[in-house]
Symmetry: C2
Subunit: 529 residues, 2 copies
């Protein structure tokens, strides 16, 4: 194999404790004097990036992304454009970042390619205008496809860390994402050392260095969500560190909005269902490790678990949200494994105020481990993800409006839905004051096939699709999940499709299957006039 393998570092034993001592010292987060020599400004560091390069950056759900170099790079790109020279790069990340990275580079038209998951309005606008190429890829595939060489060489990595040890090892930041791979694979490494990140992050990470390329792969030894299988630090070949930039800047930290009524109803249906599964003996009251998407519905589900009296659960998921801190605090969760934080300012405050408590109950892993099919299947995760729409047969669209316009991306939903014990997709039954139905005759884009969807939930109810054939699924979804305004229209479509369809395994009227979306594009609503 031609791809570079990480060269093992000669590791110095840690000093006792090994925790960062935040003092008045200037560069207290950089404890390697050799590396201190590579300190420079963000502008100097950004000048090491050239047009056409493939640049891998840290960042996952608005946490742990570089704050200074991308903005300095954007300024450079703008100057370059002003003097008539285009300057675009290819950008790989962990997942979504923030205005200082995605936003800054998009505004100066500085990206020719972006992968994987994104959620920035400026990026989205350019993707949907057709001027920015975006690859929407399973989060568990990014690291290995990089190692396989499928994205070509990684010229530069720009990675935020919380600190640098004496021996050159790195204290990871508030997300791990693909950082291990970026540091292993990039020709040159730029580090941003962000002193804003809590010093208490040190020790909360579990970086697994046992991955390999086939045919040399071994079983990943993790069998429990709270098991440590790696080390708390990232390794990097010091010879490849070309710049270190100091920052003191907060993560994106979106404010937390309390669950709305529809989200609470969705959570209620899901919790009823989990309760039934326990009574049937299919789950115990410890459930199985929870994976939960980000946002309002996910928060409502977490709150519902807490109110439902569950105790001692675990999470094996991607993101630690505010809701999870609360569940850890009241014992609903006994621990959470993830690859990133996504806390509100209040959540950060809570975390910092009780760092001792949380640091024993949270583990952050590389996203190739948090999302690994092997581990998700072994642990039997309960996968709970949002969606844009489901069709009456259970095909789920997580990414596109009207089949063509990207929202964010598939993220890790496919990793968990395919391999989990249960795959649940949730959405309000309508959006935009009823102009959009979350249940449609045919999904306008399919991210999760009929083969991968077990449960669909809206505020109207829950459809349990396990052990059902397509026509049985349609009955469940129309009756339990569709909004009353759209239900008769769906039933009418299904009845006519069953009567007239070419085949009656999955009845469809092809000249009508996407007509709801077309009507939305033409008139602004899926509802016939």
């Amino acid at each position: 194999m031609s791809r570079r393998r990480a060269r093992p570092l000669k590791v110095q034993p840690l000093e006792s404790g090994g925790h960062l001592n935040i003092g008045i010292q200037m560069h207290d987060r950089i404890r390697s004097s050799a590396l201190l020599e590579r300190l420079m400004t963000a502008e100097q560091a950004a000048s090491l990036i050239e047009p056409g390069m493939t640049v891998a950056m840290s960042g996952f759900t608005g946490a742990g992304y570089p704050k200074a170099v991308p903005q300095a790079l954007a300024a450079r790109m703008e100057q370059s454009a002003a003097s008539g020279r285009g300057f675009k790069i290819k950008v790989l990340t962990g997942a979504s970042t923030a205005p200082e990275l995605d936003g800054a580079l998009a505004r100066v038209e500085g990206m020719e390619l972006r992968l994987p998951y994104q959620s920035d309005p400026n990026v989205r606008e350019r993707i949907n205008a057709g001027t920015l190429n975006y690859i929407d890829i399973h989060l568990s595939h990014v690291a290995q496809h990089t190692w396989f060489g499928f994205f070509g060489d990684i010229n530069v990595a720009v990675v935020e860390v919380a600190g640098i040890l004496e021996d050159g090892r790195l204290i990871p930041s508030s997300s791990v994402g693909n950082n291990k791979t970026w540091l292993d694979q990039a020709d040159k490494v730029i580090l941003e050392v962000n002193r804003w990140q809590p010093a208490a992050l040190e020790g909360m990470h579990d970086i697994y260095y046992g991955t390999a390329l086939p045919p040399n792969r071994k079983p990943i030894p993790l069998t429990l969500p709270d098991q440590r299988i790696g080390e708390p630090y990232l390794r990097v070949d010091p010879d490849r560190i070309v710049a270190i930039v100091e920052t003191d800047a907060p993560d994106r930290n979106s404010a937390f909005s309390p669950p709305d009524e529809a989200s609470r109803q969705i959570a209620g249906h899901l919790l009823d269902f989990l309760g039934q599964e326990i009574r049937r003996g299919r789950l115990t009251d410890k459930l199985l490790p929870l994976q939960s998407g980000v946002g309002n519905i996910a928060n409502a589900v977490l709150a519902g678990l807490s109110q439902g009296g569950y105790q001692g659960l675990t999470a094996y998921t991607e993101v630690i949200q505010d809701g999870m801190l609360e569940l850890l605090k009241n014992g609903t969760l006994r621990m959470a494994s993830a690859t990133s934080f996504s806390l509100s300012p209040a959540g950060i405050e809570e975390f910092n105020a009780h760092v001792e408590f949380y640091s024993k109950r949270i583990l952050l892993r590389p996203q190739e481990i948090s999302n690994h099919p092997e581990l998700i299947r072994r642990l039997g995760c309960i996968a709970m993800n949002g969606m844009i729409e489901a069709d009456i047969y259970g095909n789920v669209n997580s990414t596109h409006i009207a089949g063509s316009r990207i929202m964010n991306g598939i993220g890790g939903s496919g990793d968990f839905a395919r391999n989990g014990y249960l795959s649940v997709f949730m959405s309000p039954s309508i959006a935009k004051q009823g102009k959009i139905s979350g249940i449609v005759p045919m999904a306008s884009h399919v991210d999760h096939t009929e083969h991968d969807t077990m449960v669909v939930v809206t505020e109207q109810g829950l459809a349990d699709l396990r052990g059902l054939a397509p026509k049985q699924r349609a009955k469940q979804i129309i009756e339990h999940c569709a909004h009353p305004d759209y239900r008769p229209l769906l039933q009418d479509y299904y009845d006519r499709a069953f009567r007239d369809s070419y085949g009656k395994h999955t009845p469809h009227l092809l000249n009508e299957a996407l007509s709801w979306h077309q009507r939305f594009v033409e008139t602004g609503t899926m509802m016939p006039g």
Copy 2:
């Protein structure tokens, strides 16, 4: 968990050698005298199955299915229908079976539900008439969903074996499929002991008994395709064996047809591609374990590997076809792991004539192991599967004609495509004398999403989609894979979609996206008049 666990048997030590001694003795395949007492006719055994029962049967790709009981059951069903009483059961298998099982039960309308993969014309006809419910499920999911209780109780298992040992353990037949799970989970077990099956099958199986339900799952220790991790025999609780039926009947054994010109061209493009990957240093000349679908194209690929001078390859796949025997013989393959045979009569003859040779080079495993995501990802399989159609963005339809009519099913293609090192989908660019294009504007059903398709091949050429965004993929697929008769139509669709689409990430014209399929349904051809 309420599901039954396999009770460990008290296993007697095997006699030296332990091989079956085919003699003139009447019941020489049944060496347990206690079990001999449960010998009965197929009709007697079939009388133990009642209407409404869930019956799990052996069988995978026309191999190792029960030959006598299903036909006797069909006769019973027919009598029942004649006297005005409906008699339907739910049927679970490994994958496709044969006329004696699927055909017989379908002809008497004896199934209310069938899962997973099927390929019987009588079954297909009823599914598409809307009178038989069919669940198309990933082959790797069937066993665990049974254990999870998602299909309800398994009332009866009907499993073909090649013999019964003194201690009651079973010599598996020409396929393993889900038999371990059926024997573990069914309330009652009916065995068919088929003396037609080669005695040399004994010892060729590797039945893994280390599976468990979450949260008790452990890593599966397999790291090489030829590694044994289990035992050569199936276990069964003798108290649950309610009937043993002796048979002497051949497997389906479809004749082998030599690859046609289009298949050879497809294979040629794929072999050129693999050669390039080797030259780029991304693969070695040992490649990685091969998974190959069944049929003409797969056979052409295998033949091409042999002609290409490859030596010492491995297969980690579902089915051993004639082509694989040849590759084992000439050293192209050094071993093959699968869950089933699917040989022609000539292939059977070849196998029997050189049993010593083949039995050292072939391992048959349960399909939950042959198709396990953990193992496919670890081994880095090269997944090569046929398809019905791909759209210009790389979404693949493996199952439906015109979005509604089922052909066979997804089989294991999703298990391998999602988790393999490479996922390749292959089809001729046209079918039915050009009336159907294998490349369409939008797939009429999606079994493999854009996130899971790396390479598309037709006889026209190969599209390498790795590292490409949707619009870049469309260019590759239209230019390299579409048939010249359809290429300008696809380009025209794409150009207009790019101009007028609601979003330009995945440009589509929703009122036209499925019009090719609708035209085919209405006029019998996708080509405009």
